[in-house]
């Protein structure tokens, strides 16, 4: 860094306001997408293993039904959309929540902290490849699902479903930023992610409507943002009844997402400031 504030290598000091923000978004998107396509083996493995995961995940649930109902299109559609949503929920924990940890492990965190870029934008770089993988995932999971289970996947309102999935990714990002700030502070939370993922899937009504939950659990479900993502997605894709009015669910989801994103940005700033004071930034 030169005296007088002259920039270090990728400083955005030469740009101001929205342009500086766009430059940071561009840099984060570029590194995210490049990294995603660098590991082609993972991409191929994701596609090739999908039939195995579909069979492993859906067959045990069908065992709870009489054999003549295993081909029930409604149940299978519930499970299909649940499988897609699993990816959205887990993105919050594994991609966005663990972004800080990954930078720590690669030894690049301190370099990022030397820049003047927005921490939230830097740590949300995996949202771009996640959007690509979600779109790709929808296509190949759909193909395998139809081939294995032989039912038509319902998609009554494609635009509505796409809007909910995009909103869901933003919710996941907000949740991930808040969680990421905790990871920043507590370091190794990998084992916790595994457990938390199943808890979130369970309480958020990802696989079945929260209307079926017993009362204390139903209230917990309604307090979770992913419940609204799941409910609205099934509403647009399958035409199912929502717990609240769809417009109210959109409002709750939007407010919840905005609050999570703001909380994420604020908590990252707070934790960074605290760690810089205590010297814990570089401690792994």
């Amino acid at each position: 860094m030169r005296r007088g504030g002259g920039g270090s290598s990728r400083s955005t000091k030469f740009a101001r306001g929205a342009r500086a923000l766009l430059l940071e978004v561009e840099a984060a998107a570029e590194v995210g997408v490049r990294t995603y396509f660098r590991y082609v083996a993972w991409l191929v493995t994701d596609i090739v293993t999908t039939p195995a995961w579909l069979v492993l995940f859906i067959t045990p649930i069908l065992l709870f039904l009489p054999r003549d109902q295993w081909g029930d299109p409604r149940t299978l559609n519930f499970l299909f959309w649940g499988f897609i949503l699993w990816d959205v929920v887990s993105a919050g924990l594994w991609s966005f929540g663990m972004a800080v940890r990954r930078e720590q492990q690669m030894g690049t965190l301190e370099f990022l902290m030397l820049t003047n870029a927005s921490r939230a934008l830097l740590f949300s770089r995996s949202v771009y490849p996640r959007l690509i993988s979600l779109a790709l995932g929808l296509a190949y999971v759909y193909a395998f699902f139809r081939a294995i289970f032989g039912v038509e996947v319902l998609l009554l309102n494609p635009l509505g479903a796409a809007a909910v999935l995009l909103a869901g990714m933003a919710t996941s990002l907000g949740f991930g930023l808040v969680y990421g700030a905790l990871v920043f502070n507590f370091k190794n939370v990998g084992p916790l992610n595994n457990i938390l993922q199943f808890v979130l899937l369970g309480v958020s009504g990802v696989f079945f409507p929260p209307a079926l939950y017993p009362e204390p659990l139903r209230t917990v479900a309604l307090a979770t943002p992913f419940t609204y993502v799941a409910d609205l997605l099934r509403f647009y894709a399958m035409g199912t009844q929502t717990v609240l009015d769809p417009a109210t669910e959109w409002l709750v989801l939007t407010l919840y997402t905005a609050a999570l994103l703001l909380a994420g940005v604020a908590s990252l700033t707070l934790v960074e400031r605290r760690l810089k004071k205590t010297g814990g930034l570089g401690a792994y």
């Binding site: 195995a52 995961w53 709870f64 649940g82």
Partner: protein, 279 residues
């Protein structure tokens, strides 16, 4: 000299065991996760199953699987699935991990056979998995008001060992094939997904077409799942126990032989080309 050599093997085993147990208990969070995962997965399946089928869910489950307790059935499958994933991943990534830590070459300075050394690692992991199996299954059986008898535990432990060790053979093949292409984790994930789907951890394989059942029969984990379900969860099975064990023993020898062959070939080639230390 031969006595010292025999003792040497035991010393190596003790060393590997001590190292792996220390590592396992250093990262207690990972250990807790491995122990909790079968319950997490079972809980998810039970919850969704009940939501989908209503009060008749458990009755339907018994009619479809022959198991009166879905929780025990799924915990047994879950423990075996997690154990097989741990063994395949740990063995597959052994070369790469040791290379990244800078300790790979150090093993070659000892008088031990590298293949044997990696198999001892798998033995240590299998022992750990038996401990976790005991913890998880005893908890479920006790929760249902029962006890795991010493005979049941003995059969289950022997079967887990017989199912896990051959997976180390698959791990060595992956390790040898992928060490130069770096993305060994992706390959391990691929193998794990198909072992998990084909072994019938969570469902009876009889519901699948004959060709799938034949393919599944080539996996030691398939037979282990059948034995565990029959011994611990009292699920009726076709083949008697001794036949399953005999098949598993044959599969274990075949898998380990293939693993040794692939690894030794890679090792010879790497020594000739000077690639043993090339990262």
């Amino acid at each position: 000299m031969s006595r010292r050599a025999r003792l040497g093997l035991l010393c190596t085993l003790r060393g590997v065991m001590a190292k792996e147990l220390k590592l396992a208990f250093r990262y207690v969070g990972s250990l807790v996760t491995i122990a909790a995962m079968p319950f997490m997965v079972s809980g998810l399946f039970l919850g969704i199953g009940y939501a989908v089928a209503g009060p008749a869910a458990f009755r339907n489950f018994e009619a479809n699987t022959g198991a009166s307790s879905p929780l025990l059935y799924m915990t047994l499958g879950g423990v075996l699935m997690i154990a097989s994933m741990v063994i395949v991943e740990n063995t597959s990534t052994v070369i790469r991990e040791e290379q990244l830590m800078g300790t790979f070459e150090l093993h070659y300075l000892t008088p031990n056979s590298a293949v044997l050394l990696w198999l001892l690692h798998a033995l240590a992991h299998s022992t750990l998995m038996i401990l976790l199996f005991t913890l998880d299954v005893v908890a479920v059986v006790a929760w249902q008001g029962g006890l795991l008898t010493p005979y049941e535990w003995g059969v289950a432990a022997a079967v887990i060992l017989l199912a896990m060790l051959p997976l180390a053979g698959i791990g060595l093949v992956i390790a040898a094939l992928t060490v130069r292409f770096k993305e060994v984790w992706a390959a391990a994930n691929l193998v794990n997904s198909f072992i998990a789907a084909l072994s019938g951890f969570y469902y009876p394989l009889e519901i699948f077409p004959r060709v799938v059942q034949l393919a599944a029969g080539a996996l030691p984990t398939t037979h282990a799942a059948e034995v565990l379900k029959s011994v611990v969860a009292r699920v009726p099975v076709e083949l008697p126990l001794w036949q399953r064990v005999a098949i598993m023993a044959c599969l274990a020898l075949a898998y380990l032989a293939v693993g040794k062959l692939f690894y030794s070939r890679w090792e010879d080639e790497a020594r000739r080309r000077g690639e043993l230390s090339k990262y």
